[in-house]
Symmetry: C2
Subunit: 279 residues, 2 copies
Amino acid sequence: MRMRTCVSSMAAGSSMEWLKSVKGVILDMCGVLYDSGEGGGQAIHGSIEAVKRLMDSGLIVRFCTNETQNTREKFVQKLRAMGFDISVSHVFSPAPALVRILRERRLRPHLLVHDDLMPEFDDVDTSSPNCVVIGDAADKFSYQNLNEAFRVLIGLEKPLLFSLGQGRYYKETDGLKLDVGVFMKALEYACDVQAEVVGKPSADFFQTVLNDMSLQPHEAVMIGDDLLNDVGGAQRCGMKGIQVRTGKYRPSDEKHPSVRADGYVDDLAAATDAILTNH
Amino acid sequence: MRMRTCVSSMAAGSSMEWLKSVKGVILDMCGVLYDSGEGGGQAIHGSIEAVKRLMDSGLIVRFCTNETQNTREKFVQKLRAMGFDISVSHVFSPAPALVRILRERRLRPHLLVHDDLMPEFDDVDTSSPNCVVIGDAADKFSYQNLNEAFRVLIGLEKPLLFSLGQGRYYKETDGLKLDVGVFMKALEYACDVQAEVVGKPSADFFQTVLNDMSLQPHEAVMIGDDLLNDVGGAQRCGMKGIQVRTGKYRPSDEKHPSVRADGYVDDLAAATDAILTNH
């Protein structure tokens, strides 16, 4: 039945013959594999099986998330508990990518991130900070903490701000929550700087995943529920992008004035059907 | 000695002959009349006498502030205690201006403002809010309060956000503090809206002061320490603008790429000398 729906929406939309040349698949996680919520959330119907089918098909599969409320290890543990057979080394999240950047550029950050993300920075020198890093700190975004980050930033000869993602808001069981991008804009305005975004939709971030897959951009497809950060970001790197109608998807996404996905499908199961049919 | 300094800087800078046609003076308060700090701050040397001389000269004098951490009454009380002979009806601040707008447009605000400003809104209906108002709420800008304001805003059919000023930061005795504009930018990004700014540099706000003075813009001069919000804002309304080298003034202001004051003077006493000499 889902197969039929998928074929029908493919017929109605653009053909996905381009899938023939695809050798690798990058999957967004929240809103594609699972819905967040109480107790960590739950798998989206059919997605556990879909991930398994993609992996068994011989395609190279990687996972790409902007999750910054947890270490990558804890996050993967949660997904494994839901039934997903995922290994930590195949998951790309902003914090480990930022730690590499900090090391390469010999930067010492002032951190305004979620307490549960702190272990990612265990080996990072945070003395005499020469940059500021913000993640989705949620309740830790107090006036005092934000002001402290601002004072570090404005006190630098050349203020340098890193933001782990640039999301506006997300949905939790008790309603909408402000995301890190909102506080990035606040600090950008305060100090008249532009933040360096680490995570989707940064081209560097997608490129790291492609490097790990040993693929050229045109050989990979990104599947996500976020039209701008997943699909648009991947397309700017030369990849194809498919949007699923789960998670934060809204019908208005299909009429977006500047970003158009290479395919719209009902969910990851339908995306997998389309990929394996055309492969 | 100050007189000589003033004449000397006038000679070095542009001539201020245009002051001949000026019938009214609008004074910024913090940074021009007084410096904020512990115990409410202290008068800037010579400013109490300068205000008196301007008033005694027959010029129409009004005061214009973006202060939103206090009611107008409490604020004027503080200035009077410092020695300024100022009456409440001559002081224009954002909150009373906003209350008039809310009444005219029949709006019911969700308020995220300083506790000490709340009495300004005693007569305002805040049930079933159809807009959001933010002021310099300082410590009240917690994640929870900001998220609450965001949820009200995003829940409106047409999100409407008012900001009492748009300052980036200000200086207190214990260091720099984030101002309301930073949180305005945060909510603007979260909801993809543009805030209506009430207070300087809003043209409507300056026009209210001019109406009260019964003057045309070219008949009035604004004196302030903030190049963009005081001088630039007044100039965009057709007024002249003088910047004083006190308060938040920085030498780099005199080389600003887009805003140039009609005169730069050391302080309010020097500005008064120039006005009364040319008048």
